[in-house]
């Protein structure tokens, strides 16, 4: 299982990668592994506002439907349309092509509350 060090994590199993004031959001390798084959993805529209710890979308696998929680607050500036059409990419490349949103952060200080790769890895091992 992969825990890249260039992203921060939430306990709800989302990751966020920051470049300047823009945060890219997706779900973790552990999340895709627990979900199983993903068959459907619902994301907000461009310009939508997301709030830290509140839902921004839905991911559905053959096992279950799960809410997606935003790791940070801000305005959505880009969504990954290709991923909505081919949600199976979430299983193949969770930290790369399966990015979901790019968000212009309104409160970058929130990033400090997120987990590092080591902290997240430890959390996941405990959850198992």
């Amino acid at each position: 299982m992969e825990f890249p060090k260039d992203v921060r994590y939430t306990k709800e199993h989302e990751w966020v990668r920051v470049e300047g004031n823009v945060a890219t959001v997706g779900v973790t390798d552990y999340a895709q592994d627990s979900l199983g084959d993903v068959v459907y993805l619902e994301l907000p529209g461009d310009g939508a506002a997301v709030t830290k710890d509140e839902t921004f979308g839905v991911v559905e696998s053959v096992k279950a439907v799960s809410d997606l929680y935003s790791p940070i607050s801000g305005a959505v500036i880009e969504i990954n349309d290709a991923l909505v059409d081919s949600p199976e990419v979430i299983n193949d490349d969770p930290y790369g092509d399966a990015w979901m949103l790019k968000v212009e952060m309104s409160a970058p200080a929130e990033l400090k509350e997120l987990l590092t790769a080591d902290e997240y890895k430890k959390y996941v091992e405990e959850e198992k």
């Binding site: 627990s34 068959v39 459907y40 096992k63 279950a64 199976e88």
Partner: protein, 488 residues
């Protein structure tokens, strides 16, 4: 020609078609032919299915009879679907619902001509109030989640009329998944409360989030792990102190009816799933019915019309200025109400209590017998259902889905799987009260045999089912690229 068992294979009805073969004789029309293209707008005309099947009557009958024999239902076998109470539907219910006075009435008849039906509905409301400890009820909602929505809309309207609308609803993660959805639909924001490894929520957890912007706490009790939310009274006090309501999802009422009244524990609103607790058909055999009971304070908000009893006469009252309005065409799914009424009258108080006791006993029997073989995340006495997981089997790369599929080889309907979400790889078993010890034992033996098979020959479990009409389906492909109808 190779010998074959027609039970095992049945082509699509399109494949049985032969030009001009016919099941019925249609009289020659005495008006001229109508050409669809001349009378129906072009964009509404479908051209993609040209040849509808042309088959004889007996072929139609055989086709659908064979398909129906592939079905699995409570009448064909054990159906331990947790969270769903797939209990047996006694045949007496069908007799009662088919009485001409119930089956041939029309909702447009006057109240005078519908006295029997109105009396049944009025009494059913009274029974449900008696069972739950509520003051008034409506039978309108068409299913459990519809009942939830009805309850939350009433709570929203109550605060709106007081000119103090509230925004939030607290929902424990041990509640049913429909609870947050219903709250959202009624316009509330959901605040989640987590159970902390004990399977139930604590008063402290509720107190930490309860405030005067919170309209209600919505919980399922017994909860979705099959445990009784034992702090409910204390939790209700915390919520009431800040002016909020307690909504209890009554989907799991089968564990406590005749034993405990939720109304006595501070619950203000509850929905009943007649298709679960009160033995009316469930699933495809529905429709459902989700009556809602309320305490006095919310009574003015119940959907209208309400059934009024004056002396021995029954009538419908539309003059309900505070009502949230009508929720369903006419008065709800009446034929289902007739079945639930029949069940309650046939069982009586002692019978309903015994049913709950047996449901709990059966679930605990299974829990006790399987607990060494399957991981039990909450190892304590359960109510009407017990939640296991695939933790032991996962070591052999055998997962919940494989165990479920393998059960089909033993002739059982798989239990609920991967729910509740708070248990990873959940296997949720609800046997219900009507199953004999012999049936429970054969199910337990099948589960033990699968656990053993996982150790001895995991591939057999991973590739199950082997004895069914069709083997393991590619569910991922079916979900990603569904082909929903016949295409030439």
């Amino acid at each position: 020609m190779k010998p074959q068992n027609p039970q095992l294979d049945e082509p699509l009805i399109f494949k049985k078609s032969s030009k001009m073969r016919n099941g019925i004789s249609i009289l020659k029309s005495d008006v001229g032919d109508v050409i669809p293209g001349n009378t129906i707008p072009k964009e509404l005309l479908r051209e993609d299915i040209k040849d509808f099947p042309e088959v004889s009557e007996i072929d139609v009958v055989r086709h659908f009879t064979r398909l129906s024999q592939w079905n699995f239902g409570v009448d064909t076998g054990f159906y331990p679907l947790g969270s769903c109470t797939m209990k047996y539907n006694p045949k007496i219910n069908e007799d009662i619902a088919r009485l001409a006075g119930f089956s041939k009435v029309h909702p447009y008849q006057s109240d005078e001509l519908n006295q029997g039906a109105l009396q049944l509905m009025c009494e059913l409301e009274e029974f449900l109030c008696e069972i739950s400890g509520m003051d008034a009820a409506t039978l309108q909602p068409a299913a459990g989640a519809h009942g939830e929505l009805c309850g939350m809309l009433m709570i929203a309207k109550y605060f709106k009329e007081k000119d103090k609308p509230r925004k939030k609803v607290i929902i424990p993660d041990t509640a049913h998944g429909t609870n947050p959805a219903s709250s959202n639909l009624a316009g509330f924001t959901v605040v989640s409360v987590k159970e902390e490894n004990v399977g139930v929520i604590t008063p402290e957890a509720v107190a930490s989030v309860m405030d005067e912007d919170t309209a209600a706490l919505m919980l399922t009790n017994p909860n979705t792990i099959g445990l009784f939310e034992k702090h409910i009274k204390e939790i209700a006090e915390i919520v009431h102190k800040k002016g909020g309501f307690i909504y209890c999802d009554g989907a799991n009422l089968n564990a406590i009816m005749g034993i405990a009244k939720l109304g006595d524990m501070g619950v203000d609103v509850i929905q009943f799933n007649l298709h679960k607790t009160f033995s009316t058909p469930h699933g495809g055999g529905g429709p459902g019915s989700g009556p809602v009971g309320v305490k006095k304070l919310l009574e003015p908000y119940l959907p209208k019309p309400r059934i009024i009893k004056k002396g021995k006469r029954f009538s419908l009252d539309y003059n309900r200025p505070k009502s949230i309005g009508r929720l369903k065409a006419f008065y709800g799914n009446f034929a289902i109400m007739a079945r639930a009424y029949s069940y309650i009258r046939a069982m009586g108080h002692d019978g309903l209590k015994k049913a709950s006791e047996m449901a709990v006993l059966n679930a605990n029997y299974i829990r006790e017998k399987l607990k060494g073989h399957y991981y039990l995340p909450y190892n304590q006495t359960c109510m009407h259902e017990s939640v296991f997981s695939d933790k032991f089997q996962s070591e052999k790369d055998v997962h919940t889905i494989d165990i479920a599929k393998r059960l089909m080889d033993y002739g059982f309907h798989p239990p609920t799987i991967y729910f509740p979400l708070i248990v990873s790889g959940a296997i949720m078993i609800e046997p219900t009260e009507t199953e004999t010890k012999e049936t429970l034992d054969s199910f337990i033996n099948a589960m033990i045999s699968i656990a053993q098979g996982t150790k001895d020959n995991p591939d057999i479990v991973k590739n199950a089912p082997h004895t069914t009409q069709i083997g393991r389906l590619d569910e991922t492909r079916a979900a990603r690229n569904p082909i929903l109808r016949w295409k030439g």
